[in-house]
């Protein structure tokens, strides 16, 4: 019986592998083309096509993309825009995660009248499309005097992120046994001390998940970046577009590919280092 299965297995297994490899290759084609182009010279690409093997390894594209390439009349490469993105993503991620943790803690562990309503309204934000909020945000930013600033993007991403971070943290914190809170109250700990000394130390799994989620989401966000900032204030995702449209001469695919790869690097690194926590955190709910 067992032997029969083993003898049968190869054919069906090869079919499965073949299908999986085909799909994987299909999905990877754009990445592979970009990576290959990033190390090809302009002449190389110009004389053949955008799809092809590099004739020689040209790493200079990365240097140009980072520091000297001209985007919108500024020849500083994408480095200033990378810096903009970091200035946006770091505070926005930290602040939205902390607010989410505090919200989740309040909703999950300090039951109050209407807490489920509050939770429902906050998480409604998860389902609202970005485009819907463009006009309201424009008005808010104008009234706050924040138009065309990185601060504006931080502000937007913190507010927008609260829905997700609250959802994540609340669902994690509901698994904390209520007796723990009772014990702490009798011990004399208040709202913030319980959060700081008991709940937060239990939170690394969910905080890692939330940070990864927020970081990649905010870093990759494009619509708000391109709508609410211009010129030197743009995050890198928005600047990459300017890079592809502003060139009057022949398109420099090599440098552009390198720029795209540099811009994608931070989220890739976050995923490589935090990915296993991400998968673990999404499935684990128990605090035991």
């Amino acid at each position: 019986m067992a032997e029969a299965i083993r003898r049968q297995a190869p054919l069906s297994r090869w079919v499965i592998y073949a299908v999986l490899v085909a799909f994987a290759a299909f999905y990877l084609v754009p990445l592979i083309v970009t990576v290959l182009n990033s190390v090809r010279t302009e002449q190389d690409i110009g004389s053949t096509s955008v799809v092809g093997w590099p004739r020689e390894l040209a790493l200079s594209n990365f240097g140009k993309a980072w520091g000297t390439y001209c985007i919108a009349q500024r020849c500083e490469g994408i480095s200033p825009f990378m810096w903009n993105s970091i200035l946006m993503v770091v505070p926005a991620t930290i602040i939205s995660t902390l607010i989410g943790a505090l919200n989740g803690y309040s909703i999950a562990l300090w039951r109050f009248r209407g807490d489920n309503w509050v939770f429902g309204i906050i998480t409604l934000g998860v389902f609202l499309p970005e485009q819907m909020k463009l006009v309201p945000w424009t008005l808010v930013l104008r009234d706050l005097g924040l138009s065309n600033t990185i601060t504006a993007l931080v502000f937007i991403h913190v507010i927008q992120g609260i829905s997700f971070t609250t959802l994540f943290c609340r669902n994690y914190y509901v698994a904390i046994p209520p007796d723990l809170l009772k014990a702490a109250k009798i011990d004399g700990a208040g709202y913030f001390r319980i959060f700081w000394r008991i709940v937060l130390p239990l939170s690394p799994p969910i905080l890692i998940v939330t940070v990864i989620w927020q970081f990649t989401h905010i870093w990759n966000e494009f619509l708000y970046g391109v709508t609410f900032t211009t010129g030197a204030q743009q995050p890198v995702t928005a600047a990459l577009i300017a890079l592809s449209v502003s060139v009057a001469e022949a398109p420099q695919y090599g440098v552009q590919s390198a720029a795209v790869l540099i811009a994608a690097l931070p989220t890739l690194l976050v995923y490589l280092f935090g990915g296993k926590y991400f998968l673990r955190g999404l499935t684990a709910g128990a605090v035991k």
Binding site: P177, D179, K182, A183, I186, D187, G188, A189, R197, P201
Partner: protein
């Protein structure tokens, strides 16, 4: 001095009234056990005493001070939870000192207190460990240490032993009782286990459906249950409760099981019982008799020979436990449990002779279910 006084406490959750007017008073140094089946309101009452829930009505006084509007931390109480509720990310030492840290106790005093308590509970080897590295019994000890370190007016225990296995439970039961004697603390202890209640309490409050059914010392609860609920709830195996009839016998009264049947059994009532039973003469009652009051025929109950009545009954089933044998028999058409010596061999399906101790009979009004004699 009364350590705890509960007066007229009521509580409702939505439409359901879970506490229907509770009055209890506990003296300093007493070990009060709140016992009852799940859903009887005992844990809610404990939470109200702790200040974790507010009573709908009524007052709570701890150490002579009205505490209705006092925060849990300021009630001078300590609590041990069923789930232990140890802080998972803290070491045993930090678990024990957390409360003192919140109350700004100086570091030196904290260390002294940890030392005292950890030696008392023999957890001094575990102070650097995390709760996840402890066994169930050790966690229980740490949870008690966290309570003891406070030296409060009142200790509250919420089913602290129900997560332990049977053997450990018996050990910890003894330890808690010894601890109570050693530190002369006042304890309010919630459990659904009537054996825990009987073995540890100085006084028991039996609760059912949001009311205190009886509030008395264990002996009274066991021998003179105030109503049929208490009679059936306390004791394992439970008290036999069968219908009977009060009749006059000679110059006194007797209770008859299976009146009118050829196998009717007549049990004379004691002088004390007659006072209450008089009003029920020639009427139906519920007769309560503990299984240990029915034993093998040569058993003598106390010094008084007259208390022991010989009966013959068919044996339906036996359950040897080792220390004794539980026997299911039929008396006057009713099924009753008896407890006989383990070396007595009983013929299952046949008849056997038993001795009945008639001194401790309880009679209940079948309508109100209250104890009448």
């Amino acid at each position: 001095m009364s350590a705890l006084r509960i007066a007229g406490v009521r509580k409702r959750f939505g439409a359901q009234e879970v506490l229907k007017g509770i009055d209890l008073e506990v003296d300093s140094g007493e070990f009060l056990v709140l016992v009852g089946p799940s859903g009887c309101g005992k844990s809610t009452l404990l939470n109200i005493i702790a200040g974790l829930e507010a009573p709908g009505e009524g007052t709570i006084e701890i150490g002579g001070r009205l505490v209705n509007d006092v925060e849990p931390k300021d009630r001078d109480i300590a609590m041990v939870f069923q789930s232990y509720a140890l802080y998972p990310t803290m070491t045993v030492r930090q678990n024990i000192t957390f409360g003192m840290e919140c109350r700004n106790v100086p570091k030196r005093a904290q260390d002294e207190a940890v030392e005292r308590v950890s030696r008392l509970l023999q957890i001094d080897q575990l102070l650097h460990r995390k709760p996840s590295q402890l066994s169930g019994g050790q966690r229980q000890r740490v949870a008690m240490g966290r309570a003891l370190v406070r030296d409060p007016t009142l200790f509250l225990f919420d089913e602290p032993l129900s997560n332990l296995d049977a053997k450990l439970r018996v050990e910890m039961r003894l330890e808690i009782k010894q601890l109570h004697r050693r530190i002369a603390a006042t304890i309010v202890y919630v459990t659904h286990d009537q054996i825990e209640a009987m073995t540890m309490a100085t006084r028991i409050a039996v609760m059912h459906q949001g009311e205190v059914q009886q509030f008395a010392d264990p002996e009274t609860i066991y021998n003179r249950p105030a109503n049929l609920f208490v009679a059936r709830f306390m004791g394992a195996p439970p008290m036999n409760c069968v219908s009977a009839r009060v009749v006059s016998a000679g110059d006194g009264l007797a209770a008859v099981i299976g009146a009118g049947r050829p196998d009717a059994i007549q049990l004379p009532l004691s002088r004390e019982a007659e006072a209450g039973a008089g009003a029920f003469k020639d009427r139906a009652v519920v007769l309560g008799i503990r299984p240990e009051c029915i034993a093998e025929e040569d058993r003598r109950f106390g010094a008084d020979e007259r208390g022991s009545i010989a009966v013959e009954a068919p044996v339906e089933m036996t359950e040897p436990t080792g220390a004794e044998t539980i026997v299911l028999m039929r008396l006057g058409g009713e099924q009753l449990l008896g407890r006989v010596s383990p070396d007595v061999r009983l013929p299952v399906g046949g008849n056997a002779r038993f001795a009945v101790d008639a001194r401790k009979l309880c009679l209940f009004d079948p309508a109100t279910e209250r104890l009448i004699a």
